[in-house]
Point group: C2
Chain length 457, copies 2
């Protein structure tokens, strides 16, 4: 990077002149459906993205997985000391219900300063920003100050089912100093945001079979077992009234927030009234430290679903034959979903009951955590401030779950997420959109990150 | 009854000659739909029944309630010292699903020794037996050895919603020495049965509102309250793992079985393997005393329904906004559903929670108990043995619920139920039926009861 000569302000001017070109590229990508769950247009979209990347000067190729392909790309220059791995996904959610769209989901349309179309924010308008930044930098300067790699998968909307195995099988190819993801919306007030991890997930279904039929609650009351009560009794052995989980080893290995992280949490703007409204509550009495500690550093144990017997209007006097419950556990940094699932199996098999109880593992994703103190994380935070001209909100973790553990736990590199989309992007919903302003900001942010990481030694 | 001269055997012979007449009367009644929940043909059926009763020599009339009318009848003779109150219901269940009927539900049809049609067993074929017995006895003897009253309601299949108020408002009219009901099927092996009560019912719905929407279990996990967990925590304050109910005063007033009743329970034939099969269990390890104690003398606390959140296949990662549970409590002799409901309201309002919890009383029926030792009960038991030529099974109570409390608790008279239908009557189901044999047996049983109660002083 000794020969690097272009400043961010010069790049910024060039980007301003290329806006129409960049928008055209995005529109090309948006016109191509790529619905991974329905297998509609996914490979066509991968081919299209490959072409755009090659035209941008990236050495790219399609790589197969057990499912939809990965589009991989790289620009390696021996002079560079650092490598960024950009992660994104080119698949989209189904557009249904179609009648609620104001314009065709696969005909990108600009209204009120926003681009409408399936996949604008999630994730085509964000993943292409990295490509367009690289293209612009290459055109202006002939080379890049850092090596870049691109891991663009086609199955994120299917739960990234083959990503971990792909990453594990291509550790050398994907070797990098930091993983950088642009996905999701910015924080509530439109502040730029940098997140350094996410909670994991263990989603388990328990089924209790009492009898092979529903029985009359009078004629068979005290005779047939009560499967819903059995699950309730089982769950009461798993969690206290106060929410403390009693499953053996559940809290093992959890990393508590550092004083620095706690300080960080206290600095995040928090608007309880606004948040209460979003959540659908009358009020929310939490400090910002409590709120973000609850989201970033504590696991959850939620009943996401419970069904047994008659649930319509009025009475049906039965002892249901069966009951099921879905348990949704978000896992804090360093909890291990596989170990916890084993503990649950053991817990259930030790539970004495007249019902037959079965356990199903429906989803298990590891948490991911990147330390705030990592020097490259600081570089990314600076680069975001440069691009947006305001310091970003830094979140130690998202409350939700993502595949970032493949970077932190398989590749053993820090992972940052910098969401480029507007807060009302309506991803997964009708009229998905991305603001024009946010789209151009994203390209600036990717450019700024490449430049700033190039300024490390 | 001093002038009574006909023996049961003589009556029995007459009944045998009247079989075709009796069957025709039943068919007339069966052809008239009387679906109380849909208000189809109910008044027409009341008028028809009224005509049959008048033609049989009974002083009868239609009496209005707030819902469908009661058909009331009586034959009072000052010479008689005792009065039987026959209770039954002329309304029927809806016949749906029609496609599962092998013949039109309102065209009575004989196949394989059974009469098929909606209402055959439940309850037209049973209530008409009393009328036909009275008609035959009157024709043969010109008078009856006991006074008879008939309380035939049109809302039993709607939960007898106006019966208690009707009985309370007409205590003098309904004054009697014993209430006699023929309803339900005989015991498993086709033995004649006499039951002396039934459990009560309190059916309550609890709703917990956490937020006005479902929330993302990641982004809002530990922020939005969990309404299913809240109900679970609430229920765990109401009942122990062992099923002991903790609601204040729940067990107040319960009458324990007498040594005589316990002895009685031990004498009831019980076939655990057969019962297990009916209930849908692999096996059932209970003695007959345990089984019948559980059904006749112990209350239940059953989760008849539980619904919250996502209950389909796979995962939906939400914190549901709301949850509901339906609690079905069968009440043992002398428990008071009104007092228990008040205790539940109090219990719930004292429960501390972030959710808003509401309680609904969906059904409350008092239990009913008649002592085995009552002399008229013994007379009924003898009369059943005479009619069926085998000693009946005597149950201290049914596990289910019925309106018999109106007799024991409002009129303060003993109440016996003698089911006339075959065990496979399929009431409430397609192809409802009553065996021809059982239909004729029922008329004998009613005749025998009238004669035997007339032999008391």
């Amino acid at each position: 990077m000794t020969d690097w000569k272009t400043t961010y302000q010069e790049i910024r001017q060039t980007l301003d002149h290329k806006k129409d070109d960049h928008l055209n590229t995005l529109f090309t990508l948006l016109r191509q459906p790529s619905i991974s769950t329905l297998n509609i247009g996914v490979r066509e979209c991968a081919e299209l993205l490959l072409g755009i990347m090659k035209d941008s000067g990236i050495n790219a190729d399609i790589m197969e997985t057990k499912g939809h392909p990965v589009v991989y790309g790289e620009i390696i220059d021996p002079k560079n000391t650092k490598t960024i791995l950009f992660y994104g996904h080119y698949d989209v959610q189904p557009p249904e219900p179609l009648e609620l769209w104001e314009s065709d989901p696969f005909v990108p349309t600009i209204r009120d300063g926003k681009i409408f179309g399936r996949g604008t924010g999630d994730n085509k308008g964000q993943l292409i920003a990295h490509v367009l930044a690289v293209k612009t930098l290459l055109e202006q300067n002939g080379s890049l100050p850092v090596n870049v790699k691109f891991l663009y998968e086609g199955e994120e909307e299917k739960g990234s089912v083959n990503l971990a195995s792909f990453v594990a099988e291509h550790k050398d190819l994907l070797k990098a100093d930091i993983a950088y993801t642009a996905d999701g919306p910015m924080e509530g007030d439109g502040q730029p945001t940098v997140t350094l991890g996410n909670r994991g997930l263990l989603y388990v279904e328990l089924n209790a079979l009492g009898a092979n039929r529903d029985n009359h609650s009078g004629n068979k009351g005290n005779i047939a077992p009560d499967p819903a009560m059995t699950l309730l009794n089982l769950i009461r052995t798993m969690v206290t009234d106060d929410g403390e989980v009693l499953i053996d080893g559940f809290y093992d290995g959890i990393i508590q927030p550092t004083p620095e992280e706690k300080e960080q949490l206290r600095s995040i703007p928090f608007f309880p009234e606004k948040t209460a409204k979003v959540v659908g509550l009358d009020s929310l009495s939490m400090t910002n430290e409590e709120y973000y500690t609850n989201l970033c550093f504590k696991p959850t144990f939620t009943i996401a679903g419970f069904l047994s017997g008659y649930t319509g209007e009025g009475t049906k006097t039965i002892i249901p034959g069966k009951a099921k419950v879905k348990l949704d556990m978000r896992l804090a940094p360093n909890q291990d979903p596989a170990a916890i699932y084993s503990a649950i199996e053991k817990h259930v098999s030790a539970f004495d009951s007249r019902c037959q109880i079965t356990v199903k593992n429906l989803s298990a994703v590891k948490p991911s955590k990147t330390p705030l103190s990592h020097p490259l994380v600081q570089k990314v935070i600076e680069s975001v401030e440069t691009a947006y001209e305001i310091a970003p909100v830094v979140l130690p973790a998202l409350g939700g779950t993502g595949p970032m553990f493949v970077f932190t736990d398989i590749l053993n590199i820090p992972s940052v997420t910098v969401p480029y989309a507007n807060v009302d992007e309506d991803n997964h919903a009708p009229n998905e959109n991305m603001g024009l302003k946010e789209f151009y900001w994203g390209i600036q942010a990717s450019s700024s990150a490449i430049l700033n990481l190039g300024l490390t030694d």
